[in-house]
Symmetry: C2
Subunit: 496 residues, 2 copies
């Protein structure tokens, strides 16, 4: 079915409120009877030409108001009780699942490829910097190996690649043999396997606040409870971690200690040691995401937690999505020996193995020193972009905004007053040709403020400056109109 | 730690019993105290030079006898109660998980690549038949696209590939638009996503008996209860399905209607229609695995269930691992519209997306008609191998053995008397240079008989004849020695 909804893009009311309001109206007038099935988020977003996030937010508001009900595997329906003025329906497990940031992440993946937009939304490397010649050379060399690459290959990963990964880890000060390494389809898969190995539905998992959008989505899909630990300029706050770990008895902590996504912060060596000591005290494991560590612009990152781990507390994850290219979908996992068989079992259950052709090509690329050469080439470029972004924020962002200063990685994290018109800002930025990622989707719990993640990796310096000038103008105009900026307690509903 | 175990490969007692016996002895003598950690299955298998299956079977026997305890995330330990003659420990959830056929599947993946062995164990296409020239041509063409293939790409899959898949499905009599198709990392991932979308821990899932080893592993890892439905020559028995569905109220049925793995059986059009009617009656969904359908040697397979599905009951899965090459790790999923968003969410949580380079290469290969050309070339070869395998069984397999006659796919399913010395047969075949897959791992419940899956896809005709001559000799010798063949109720313990 399709809904009859007319949007007024010049109206002050946010699009999601217009969508929700017109659906509510149609339910109220009996045009949508109790039990009627609504279009999927995807369908309605397509019909209206809006993002799925907008429709999702509208549906979430109607659900929390008791107008709609979602049933897993069936769809979203008008509540039986919606015609009369009933109390809001109880929160439903399946509903919670449906309102995870999955669609947002899907949008970000697609935004990252929008040709017509400049994206500040995706924490991706610049595809134009991809070392095409050298990579294609390694790929072409696999041709002689055509029969071998046609098969499944070893379950744990291609042995040449695991040998190259052992060298790569050695450069990160980690001693590991190929027998201890599991090739994964990227950090996302490493995280999914780790969560499945370590926790059961209902368990608490600690994350940084804010954190990578994907882990929040994964934890919620798995029925796990993410709990966000506040951060300061130096990364995760250990006093807060100590308290929350004692209360919540978490199964594990997910952390990005080096050049964190989305804040860019980097844990000092001392804080890494103290973090490991806390894990031992409270008996939780650590899942360490080292994906940004080699993108260091000022000084090398300290050793990973895994290199400091003397008690088998750390599962180490990394991938080549940030330092090389996301499209490879290859990463590695290094676990304490007692977990490796279980993680391998879970990998077999998830998708068997990674494509042998790409594994062998990456092995050849790493063995030939291609990654080191590539980093020498791109690090100065990304450093300049980081500097350009910081300078542009300094110059154009009006006073109430503040932001982090990353020493590596691709992201800076903006904080705004609670009542800032964030959805409107994103809409106006999009009109101006710029995609930005709303900050709520990176939070395990509401923070009491509003945020934007800005990624500077895939845009040239001058584009970054222009984008921040545009953003500064929009924010300044918004601040001059308190009636918009302050309307009804924030116009961007938290997704969960 | 390593255990002091000495194996006598000429002894009559199976290796796993020797391993279990010596561990039991060491516990009994106090050499292994209560609480002592045992090596992992992987470590001990490596130390002893035996397969992981052997160690797993030994550990499983010791666990069911109460000698050992397995704790998830910690390892396997000598029971606290093992020193005294305690009652067997209660079955432990984590133990059940540890004793799934994961390691067997891992072994089969590796066996499929053993250079020194001829494998009849893996249901894989012959890598030597891989259309190397045409595939590498399509791959090289992507070079012009280097920047685009470096990125993540759309979450649902490359649009060119989804368009090519819509055409591919059209040839299978399924009408689908690219918007309805989800690109997966193969049928295994499609299955994992479907199980996660449709069922929760404890739910019953129906499977064919026997069925694909991977689904049993996946269901057990997910805490689901596989229940096997008996088959006859025509495939799954609907009378049995009707009864078991009424009793067990399953969430879904997993079926391979065309050229099933491991039996090779193919459901008639009428039985497909009747199966759909039963699904509607009992209210379960069907996950259809169509991976072997195009490998038809005598007549085309009937339309897939999905093409006959008028009520949104079927999730359709296929992949290019059998018709082209497993190393691609690409497949497709077609679900009723109400499930698509949820499945896409689960895919994002699992590993985000498939590698764009391989997606675009496969799209080009399909669009150029490469798959049709490849099938015209390989189908006569596989048909001859099927014929050679059937002729060799006819000629060499002694009377108590019986086997299925597949009209497509890569497998035939041998059945033997209950007390046949199957592990010994596998060992002697391996000595003769042939790997075979023990049948127990394809069964949801013990069948009361013993089985072997024999795959004929990756061996030339004369090799198949030689392998069956060898097998026939071993079996005949075993049958002449009833003291071995009948020892203690079967020498190959069921894994679950």
């Amino acid at each position: 079915m399709s809904l009859s909804i007319v949007l007024d893009r010049s109206a002050r009311a946010p699009i999601y409120q217009q969508v929700a309001g017109q659906i509510r109206e149609q339910i109220g007038m009996g045009q949508l009877p109790a039990g009627a099935r609504l279009p999927t988020i995807r369908q309605l977003a397509q019909q209206l030409g809006v993002t799925r996030l907008t429709v999702q937010t509208a549906y979430a508001e109607l659900q929390s108001g008791g107008w709609l009900e979602a049933t897993v595997g069936r769809g979203t329906f008008v509540s039986q009780s919606a015609a009369v003025d009933a109390p809001p329906a109880a929160a439903h497990l399946d509903l919670l699942r449906a309102v995870t940031p999955a669609a947002v992440m899907g949008d970000i993946l697609q935004i990252g490829h929008g040709r017509e937009k400049h994206s500040l939304a995706s924490a991706s490397p610049d595809p134009l910097l991809f070392p095409a010649d050298e990579f294609w050379g390694c790929l072409a060399d696999q041709r002689r190996n055509a029969a071998a690459i046609a098969g499944y290959g070893p379950a744990q990963g291609d042995i040449q690649l695991r040998m190259a990964l052992a060298d790569y880890l050695h450069d990160r000060t980690i001693q590991a043999t190929p027998a201890e390494i599991l090739v994964t389809a990227g950090v996302t898969q490493g995280l999914a396997l780790s969560a499945a190995a370590l926790a059961e539905p209902g368990d608490v998992v600690l994350v940084e606040q804010p954190t990578y959008i994907g882990i929040l989505h994964q934890l919620r899909m798995a029925g796990l409870q993410p709990m966000g630990i506040p951060m300061d300029e130096g990364g995760i706050r250990l006093d807060a971690l100590d308290k929350m770990a004692a209360q919540a008895r978490p199964r594990f902590l997910y952390t990005i200690p080096s050049f964190q996504n989305p804040t860019g912060s980097c844990l000092s060596l001392q804080r890494r040691r103290d973090l490991l000591a806390l894990a031992r005290t409270h008996g939780f494991l650590i899942v360490e995401d080292d994906i940004y560590a080699l993108l260091a612009y000022d000084a090398p990152a300290p050793p990973p937690l895994k290199a400091l781990d003397e008690h088998g507390l750390v599962i180490y994850l990394s991938s080549f999505s940030k330092v090389l290219m996301p499209g490879l979908r290859l990463g590695c996992l290094l676990a304490p020996p007692y977990l490796l068989d279980r993680l391998l079992s879970l990998r077999l259950a998830a998708d068997l193995v990674s494509p042998s052709l790409l594994q062998q090509t990456l092995a050849a690329f790493l063995q030939a020193g291609g990654l080191r050469r590539h980093l020498r080439r791109v690090l100065p470029v990304y450093r300049r972009r980081r500097d350009a972004m910081m300078a542009a924020l300094q110059r154009y962002a009006p006073p109430p905004l503040r932001w982090t200063v990353p020493a590596g990685g691709f992201c800076t994290w903006l904080t705004m007053p609670r009542h800032h018109a964030l959805a409107e800002l994103a809409r106006l930025m999009r009109q101006g040709g710029w995609e930005i990622a709303p900050g709520d989707v990176f939070l395990a719990q509401p923070s009491g403020e509003q945020h934007v993640r800005l990624c500077f990796g895939s845009q040239p310096d001058d584009a970054l400056a222009r984008s921040m000038r545009t953003m500064g103008q929009i924010v300044r105009e918004q601040l001059a109109q308190p009636d918009i900026a302050l309307q009804d307690g924030g116009d961007f509903a938290p997704l969960v």
